[in-house]
């Protein structure tokens, strides 16, 4: 693994760290309140490493539920990673299953989005993605254990902490808007996601939105290309 790439990836993880530390702490606090030990909270962050499902697991544990309903909920919440893993697979051909296993084990919404903000940096560079992901994971574990140990020392609802990850996602979304039709896809996906979240239980809205909005994206793109064939694809967006 290339040391230089690893360092570059680790550096790219810093905005995620800023979001993961306080949110991880919030998880640690809630896990302790639900009756988990610091060890258990830390192990969950180490082995599962999937924010939303961890919060829901802790919520269900505090209500006395255990085992099957929690594992089932976790499965459905994290099914959305299928899409991210499929996308990332395009950038990692000819790598060993061990490398791919290592990379995919630490895949999260945030690290995926940062990786996609500049795909030239990840293409067949497992070191970069590994650095990005392991630093993020480390921040998540540190936050969780810290939160479990220190308890309510810091109020995780203050200092703008609830908006750290939303702000990160907004910027990552706008980085993806490179052409006019990307903007339309964003609007279409936004509307779909609101409708599906309203209409369907759980996290299905993310998967359905991604499939439908991408399908519409292909249609828009083929129209754009057939009507204006002379314009090169990398023309900067006039937006």
């Amino acid at each position: 693994m290339d040391n230089h790439q690893f360092k570059a990836g680790a550096k790219a993880a810093l905005p995620i760290v800023l979001g993961y530390l306080p949110v991880g702490m919030a998880f640690g606090v809630l896990a302790r309140n639900a009756g988990l030990t610091t060890w258990e909270a830390g192990s969950m962050s180490l082995l599962v490493y999937a924010g939303a499902s961890q919060f829901i697991a802790v919520e269900m544990i505090s209500k006395g539920m255990i085992w099957f309903p929690i594992v089932l909920a976790t499965f459905f919440i994290n099914l959305r990673h299928l899409l991210m893993s499929s996308t990332l697979s395009l950038y990692f051909s000819r790598h060993s299953l061990r490398t791919l296993g290592l990379l995919s084990a630490q895949l999260t919404d945030e690290s995926f989005a940062v990786a996609m903000s500049n795909t030239s940096k990840i293409e067949n560079r497992p070191g970069y993605l590994f650095g990005l992901q392991i630093i993020s994971h480390f921040a998540w574990i540190t936050g969780s254990v810290g939160g479990a140990l220190l308890g309510g020392l810091i109020n995780h609802k203050s200092y703008g902490i609830p908006f750290a990850l939303p702000a990160l996602f907004i910027c990552l979304l706008l980085i993806q808007i490179r052409k006019v039709h990307h903007f339309y896809i964003m609007v279409v996906a936004g509307i779909f996601s609101l409708f599906f979240k309203w209409a369907l239980p759980g996290n299905w809205y993310i998967i359905l939105t991604a499939l439908l909005a991408s399908g519409i994206g292909i249609l828009i793109n083929s129209k754009v290309q057939s009507s204006k064939p002379k314009i090169p694809l990398n023309t900067p967006s006039p937006l």
């Binding site: 999937a50 697979s89 395009l90 940062v114 979304l173 996601s193 993310i206």
Partner: protein, 105 residues
């Protein structure tokens, strides 16, 4: 660690790992048709939209309801992030605005 909690964590870890790993393991070994590849190009935008917009219009319990605190914090971040594509800057600005709004709202 209690054995039942440990088994729960292992179960969660396993069902989380499978959808993360399978596409990467299988698709990286196949030749993907151009059309599918172009569709995958739009996944990041769609997924990120599907993460961002519901945050602004749904409350914590999953009911649809405009979240003024989030919407008002998001507007400056949208503008800033569009002009300056800085992740750090966006996170700091978003947190500062959200914190500041806490005193007003």
């Amino acid at each position: 660690m209690r054995p039942d909690i440990f088994c729960l964590i292992l179960g969660m870890a396993l069902v989380t790992f499978i959808p993360r790993f399978l596409p990467m393991a299988l698709l990286s070994r196949w030749v993907i048709p151009e059309r599918v590849k172009r569709g995958l190009d739009y996944f990041p935008i769609s997924i990120l939209s599907a993460i961002v917009f519901p945050i602004l219009f749904f409350n914590g319990e999953g009911r649809m309801e405009i979240q003024p605190h989030y919407v008002l914090s998001a507007i400056p971040v949208f503008i800033f992030a569009w002009k300056v594509k800085s992740l750090w800057g966006s996170v700091i600005l978003g947190m500062a605005v959200y914190w500041g709004l806490g005193f007003v709202l």
